[in-house]
């Protein structure tokens, strides 16, 4: 087990990502942030909290998206869905998808399909805390990256959150 990010680094990374988003999206009214269920939500909650602390909360559109029904591996096993809550229109908006780890890209592929059923966004961007680069199975790249890591298939990235696991940390596990 190898630590990739500790508590302080995670905090700084989230601060930096939030600031990059604010920098690129001067009119946050035209932007919506969407966290991907279930594990991306811990990260997206933090990013959104950081952005609202920075600019004042009133104007942020923040939703949660579950992609279970759009998965490409439904025949190999059952997956229990989580809650989707997008109670605003994404039509013509800039959408920022937020997930904790980008690996094969299949979750993001499913998210894009799911998203299109809510309307036609002007643009979709992707924020990830950890980018497991060189392991993509689909042509999908993030726009904002917390940290890029090199890892092999047998390894696993585990993101721990204070709310759920008692501490903030990202670790690389060897199986």
């Amino acid at each position: 087990m190898k630590s990739i990010l500790n508590q302080q680094q995670i905090q700084l990374t989230i601060k930096r990502l939030a600031n990059q988003i604010i920098e690129d999206h001067t009119d946050l009214y035209q932007t919506v942030l969407i966290g991907i269920q279930p594990r991306g939500i811990y990260f997206s909650d933090r990013v959104v909290a950081e952005i609202s602390a920075e600019i004042g909360s009133a104007t942020i559109n923040y939703g949660k998206l579950d992609i279970t029904f759009y998965r490409d591996d439904l025949r190999t096993g059952i997956h229990v869905p989580n809650k989707t809550s997008i109670d605003f229109s994404i039509e013509g908006k800039k959408v920022i998808l937020i997930d904790d780890v980008l690996y094969t890209g299949r979750t993001i592929r499913a998210s894009l399909d799911a998203l299109m059923d809510f309307g036609r966004p002007e643009k979709v961007e992707l924020v990830v805390l950890i980018d497991r680069r060189y392991s993509r199975q689909l042509p999908i790249q993030p726009d904002y990256i917390g940290k890029s890591i090199d890892s092999i298939v047998s390894q696993k990235v585990k993101v721990l959150w204070q709310e759920r696991d008692g501490k903030d940390e990202v670790v690389l596990l060897d199986e």
Partner: protein, 308 residues
């Protein structure tokens, strides 16, 4: 988490965890049905046949919609106008359909146990859409979903099932489900329409007085008098039934509390339920129908993965 069964033949075969999983999944499908595009690609690779050997409006439309909202391919079949009238057996009919590569069968049949018989002989996943006087599991699930939506939980909920208990598969499925989920159940109706040993067989109380039943319950699930299944005279007239067991605005107004009214449909207005009650805001009958699609989507989704 997965269901403990391959088929949905009856609530009898499910455990509390299965029921919770279905209701929880249905909740997410209900959200899907509020979206601009009310459709997900989950069952794109699944073919479903709807076999209706008995008449149906709601259940059939509800299943067909659920299947389409899940992107499944569907074929619908009704006994009238098919080779069943030429003397083909049930097993032959189904095997012929299955040889055309069908993954799931949704079946309604007037013979109790017909879906159980099929499940023993064919490889497809079978969903019972009502078999004779045995069970109607998806109706009980959507009733439970609607009650849970209204009251938050089924645990400790006081539910009265009123009317023709004897001939009702809805009643039987509801009783199984509600007792597995910790609700209290009273069945109420004329003695001739309540099976004699029901209190011994199930975890229910029998009550013959409508007024007392309504005063006790949170929810009244009112059943239709199934004249088509009664082969002897069990009460003297529909008018008399209405006077003794029909739910009128008058009775409801006389209670010390507000009772939620449910009905699986089709309603015989003026028999078991008066029009002004069916259309009042105490009634959640149309919500039941709406929830039916989400619940059936959940059932199809959770069972579809098992067909390979």
């Amino acid at each position: 988490m997965t269901l403990s069964t391959r088929h949905l033949l009856g609530i009898k075969d499910l455990n509390a965890q299965d029921i919770s999983l279905i209701l929880q999944t249905a909740q997410q499908f209900k959200e899907v049905l509020q979206r601009p595009i009310k459709k997900v690609p989950s069952l794109r690779d699944i073919t479903i046949v709807n076999l209706f050997f008995e008449n149906s409006t709601r259940t059939r439309i509800s299943f067909e919609l659920a299947e389409k909202r899940l992107s499944a391919d569907t074929i619908s079949f009704s006994a009238s106008g098919s080779s069943v009238s030429k003397g083909e057996t049930l097993l032959d009919t189904v095997n012929n359909i299955l040889s055309m590569k069908v993954d799931m069968v949704v079946m309604r049949h007037s013979a109790s146990g017909a879906p159980h018989f099929l499940a023993k002989h064919i490889p497809a996943a079978i969903i019972n859409a009502g078999d004779g006087i045995n069970e109607h599991p998806t109706q009980a699930l959507l009733d439970a979903f609607s009650m849970q939506e209204k009251f938050g939980s089924l645990q400790g909920l006081k539910v009265a099932i009123i009317g023709d208990i004897m001939h009702s598969r809805v009643a039987q499925s509801n009783i199984y489900l509600l007792s597995k989920m910790g609700a209290e159940v009273v069945v109420c109706g004329p003695p001739t329409l309540i099976p004699k040993y029901i209190a011994q067989a199930f975890d229910v109380r029998v009550e013959y007085n409508l007024q007392k039943t309504l005063e006790w319950c949170d929810v009244a699930n009112v059943l239709r008098i199934q004249l088509e299944r009664q082969n002897q005279v069990l009460f003297s007239s529909l008018r008399e039934y209405n006077l003794a067991y029909g739910i009128s605005k008058n009775i409801l107004n006389g209670l010390s509390k507000s009772v939620t009214i449910m009905h699986p449909g089709p309603i015989n207005r003026g028999v078991e339920l008066d029009s002004d009650v069916a259309d009042s805001d105490q009634s959640i009958i149309l919500q039941q129908v709406e929830n039916g699609v989400a619940v059936r989507m959940a059932v199809l989704y959770l069972l579809a993965n098992r067909t390979n």
